[in-house]
Amino acid sequence: MKTTKTIFQDGNHKWVAIVRDPDRPDFLIDTNEYLVTHGSQGLLLDPGGAEIFPAVFSALSSEFDPLALIGVFASHQDPDTCSSLALWLEFNPKMRCYVSWMWAGFIPHFGGSAETFVSIPDEGADIPLDGLTLRAVPAHYLHSSGNFHLYDKAARMLFSGDVGAALLPAGESGLFVEDFDAHIRHAEGFHRRWMGSNEAKRAWCERVSKLEIDMLCPQHGAIYQGADVQRFINWFDELQVGLCGG
């Protein structure tokens, strides 16, 4: 089973990271799922792949009533972000899936019906959560061509999908980035190869620099907090991406 860690809390407004599954087979990339709760509702960010559904479900349900989930937010269409959708819907068929309009016709291959999907237009959208407003922030081409991050202004938290992701070596499983320079080495190759557009990256850096962010939470690897958030944005701004060794 995965472990849960509350990384932000203000009353019943919470961000819970669901991380580090000791039973996960090595051939599956490790993922972080995030649960945002406010009032009586919850939204699960990048619910993960089908194979890790049992681990995510049990960790989440130890912390929050899964029937109170209004839906999932899929940053993009990759299987590691949302191929568990069919299983979540078996549990709660009323759940919605917020996703870029580009993938609204593709993700149903993982499950769901016409009512399940809420398309996000390219410019982004507000997602209401029991009185709280979350914002889907455009991050197109980073790496997916239809890609969104999720910003919670009140909590000053940004879920950044594959941006900020690091493929950590075995043994390095800290939830937060401790030593930025050491950590970023595990992120560099991934960003160069997976991120497709320098222009899109530039625009994203500019966009998120204007946001007040205490924690930048990627789908893989460790969370950047405090000064490391801006440090990451600056590092990313300078990195040349869209490069392939072959």
Binding site: F53, F57, S61, F91
Partner: protein, 199 residues
């Protein structure tokens, strides 16, 4: 686990049956042309081949019945493939839900699993029905082909009375008999497929 193995075997077997039926459909098409050829030949032979002429019309009807029967078989096979695929998907979903039930304290998941299992049972039941239908359709096709074989053999006998046309009538009816025999052998093997016996 045994359930999963069974479903994987089923999929392999039904795919093999489908390939075999596709081959027979090709042959059945050939039979239609052969029957037309036989009718044409009987006409040219005139009164000398009256018996052959009657049989060649029967053969034409047979070739059409055979094609209809193959259409029906193909439809059933596709339904079986689709149902076996459902079962394979059920197996994965059920495995993951089982794991979730084991590791979670949320007891409502038990109900979700129970619902899932009742849907699995529906799929399994539907597959049983389809399996029976396909077996029956194969048996019917086999009987039809046996009838076709008898017609072809009678045509071979009738060909001997064809006087100057005897040789060509014998050739046509011989070819017909050969092809029907080929189909008969294929269908006989299909009726014994492990898809029906489960072994």
């Amino acid at each position: 686990m045994a359930w999963a193995q069974q479903a994987r075997n089923d999929l392999l077997r039904i795919v093999r049956i489908n390939e075999e039926i596709k081959a027979i459909v090709g042959v059945a098409f050939k039979i239609n042309i052969m029957a037309l050829n036989a009718i044409f030949l009987a006409k040219r032979a005139g009164t000398a081949a009256r018996g052959f002429g009657v049989l060649s019309h029967e053969l034409r009807v047979f070739s059409q019945d055979l094609r209809d029967s193959m259409v029906g078989l193909t439809r059933l096979i596709h339904a079986c493939v689709s149902e076996v695929s459902h079962v394979l998907q059920d197996i994965r979903q059920t495995r993951l839900l089982h794991q979730a039930v084991e590791s979670s304290r949320d007891r409502r998941l038990v109900e979700v699993l129970a619902e899932r299992e009742s849907r699995n049972a529906e799929h399994a039941q539907h597959l049983i029905v389809l399996r029976k239908q396909l077996k029956r359709a194969l048996d019917d096709a086999f009987q039809l082909v046996e009838l076709g074989g008898m017609l072809a053999k009678s045509a071979k006998i009738e060909a001997a009375y064809g006087q100057s046309f005897a040789a060509s009538l014998a050739q046509v009816s011989g070819e017909f008999d050969g092809v029907v025999e080929e189909i008969r052998t294929s269908l006989e093997a299909l009726r014994r497929s492990a898809f029906f016996t489960g072994r």
